[in-house]
Symmetry: C2
Subunit: 374 residues, 2 copies
């Protein structure tokens, strides 16, 4: 896609999906401003869904900002972390909705990171067969990726994000100020998804990320603002063409096939999603090189950038006896797999990705090359 030059104007990114279109507001100071939430669907009640880490920081502030819009505002706080992205936790949201007498018009607000956003979105898709919801992402990863595009899900013990829905929010509110309180590990995890957009869609953006990585890690507001905005623009461009992942959208899963295997194999929550994606991108780049699509210099350049973001680049051992077998088994339950054949997002030239299968022995070699020495 055509790149834009970096600029400091933030404002709005529009996702064009017909009658499911919506905007992403990006900027500082948005969370507390009642105007941020104007012109949402009218309702007598709202439910804020958050987690025990985010609630003390932002729940009261969001509640106050919503007070002029909704007569009744309820709150449910979930345990924090990927290991809680389960039906049991999801049911806490349904319990809250029903206990508070929430109806078909109740607007739900997802206040937190990717796990809160994915679970709130799926709860909104399913409660009474669908109520409106708003994403208020407070992590970099959620702002640049998971809150945008309508993918919602929970995990199943046998696979990540296996149970969910395509369900678009009414609005996404990315308050850049929330990134100031983010733990360093979470910031790095978000940078993995920022980096992702370069190899798959926009090498000019990738050049910019390389030039500004130190500023991004140091949380320079202007750099973070541009990273969020450009990431959302690319994601909006992809999702606008392929909402339900019939084709193109799968490129957004660059690094995720290996990454999901790492997350599941280590136990959800051991590696952050972004950490697994960071390492997974290095592995997917190596596979692309092994397939003769990109050169070794491209792999090394990506590896260096992932490392500079504070992310792991060496794969964990998932099974001491049969590590390759374990990786392959976990990747075969990936949603992109068909008839047991694993599909990988590979870079076929810098700035462009495609989905294809690969011989098991080539994949095995990539895993063995990538593994962390004990």
């Amino acid at each position: 896609m055509t790149s834009q030059t970096p600029d400091s104007s933030l404002g709005q990114v529009h996702i064009d999906l017909g009658d499911r279109s919506y905007s992403i507001a990006i900027g500082p100071g948005l969370l507390d401003a009642p105007a941020t939430y104007a012109h949402l669907p009218v309702a007598t009640s709202a439910l804020i869904v958050t987690n025990d880490t985010v609630a003390p920081l932002y729940a009261d502030r969001l509640t106050r900002a919503l007070e002029s819009h909704y007569p009744r505002i309820h709150l449910v706080s979930l345990p924090d972390g990927e290991s809680h992205k389960t039906w049991e936790t999801l049911n806490l949201i349904f319990d809250a909705l029903l206990t508070h007498g929430c109806d078909r018009k109740t607007v739900m607000f997802a206040l937190g990171g990717g796990v809160v956003g994915d679970m709130t979105g799926f709860a909104a898709a399913s409660y009474m067969r669908g109520v409106p919801f708003v994403q208020v992402p407070t992590t970099l990863l959620a702002q640049v990726d998971s809150s945008v595009g309508g993918k919602t899900a929970i995990n199943h013990p046998l696979g990540k994000n296996m149970i969910g829905a395509f369900y678009q929010p009414q609005r996404v509110v990315c308050d850049l100020d929330t990134l100031k309180t983010l733990p360093p590990r979470e910031l790095s995890a978000g940078l993995a998804e920022v980096i992702k957009y370069g190899p798959i869609a926009d090498m000019a953006f990738y050049d910019w990320i390389e030039s500004r990585m130190d500023a991004l890690v140091a949380r320079d507001p202007e750099a973070l603002g541009h990273a969020v905005r450009r990431s959302c623009e690319i994601k909006a461009w992809v999702v606008g063409q392929d909402e339900r992942e019939g084709g193109l959208r799968a490129i957004l899963n660059f690094g995720h096939t290996f990454g999901h295997a790492i997350e599941a194999g280590m136990g959800y929550g051991q590696w952050l999603h972004g950490e697994a994606v960071g390492c997974g991108m290095v592995m997917a780049a190596r596979l692309s090189a092994a397939l003769g699509l990109v050169d070794q210099a491209f792999v090394e350049r990506l590896t260096a950038l992932v490392r500079r973001a504070g992310l792991p680049t060496e794969a964990p051992v998932l099974d001491a006896k049969d590590n390759v077998g374990r990786y392959l088994a976990l990747m075969r339950v990936d949603k992109k797999a068909e008839a047991g054949e694993i599909k990988f997002v590979v870079i076929d030239r810098p700035g462009h990705a495609r989905v294809q299968s690969a011989p098991d022995d080539l994949v095995a070699r990539v895993i063995n090359t990538s593994v962390r020495l004990p």
Copy 2:
């Protein structure tokens, strides 16, 4: 709407929903015929979802009919009954899908009554964010109502069908031969939903039901065939105009507001859904009369027909101390309620329904008039 004269041609009813359109095949001998399942989406595997009552009757026969279409056919059998329409049971379907390595193209088949259809549909909507599914209803209730129109759901302890999705099947297969094995109580339950279509949409069909009720109860194949076909036509007409229940579709819930309160208040599975709807229609007709919309003769005519179908017409006591309060509390969590105000489907003239609220004291009087004397 305009009625058709009864005829014996069955064949197909079409549901027109743009790119989600599909047909309902109605006739004898369909379940076993491989041709019934031609031209469905191509897949390497299929999963039949059924229950422990239906499996011994039809699972092998459906498996054989599908063998020429799918290389691998898996089966999962759920415990039977409304009390099992829960997340725990739904998870048995997800376990089966993942254990068998089912992918995004796997076609699911719902073989059974309304509970199996609702749960299979919700599982299909949610597995990997959506896989295709086919309804093969084996009860009269599922053939005339629940398998058509894409409403899927599970129950929550605090309310019926509270968690679900609008998700259309690829096809509905109503094999009339399956009605021969239906227990009498299930047949009556299905007749409740057949009767429903008269007062809300088609008094000529209602006249026909009255004239053929004895034949319907005696399972006359021609009478049952016409009842299924005409019911599906009316449902297709309503759903084609309002897929997601923004307005008109709510009339299909005639009798269901009182009915859901009875089902939940008695404990799911104590009263069959159709039994609760039968009694609920009598109560909703009484409310319509109390509101001055229809006359007492209309109420008595409906009560007589519901009774002839073998259905209860007297409401159960849900709370010995505060029966009216219990009914009202249960009805306030109905999906049609808004801001705690209960919405009822009332008959505003025979053959036409609308949704409106009603004063609590009027509703209380209807409940007290309807209650079964101890």
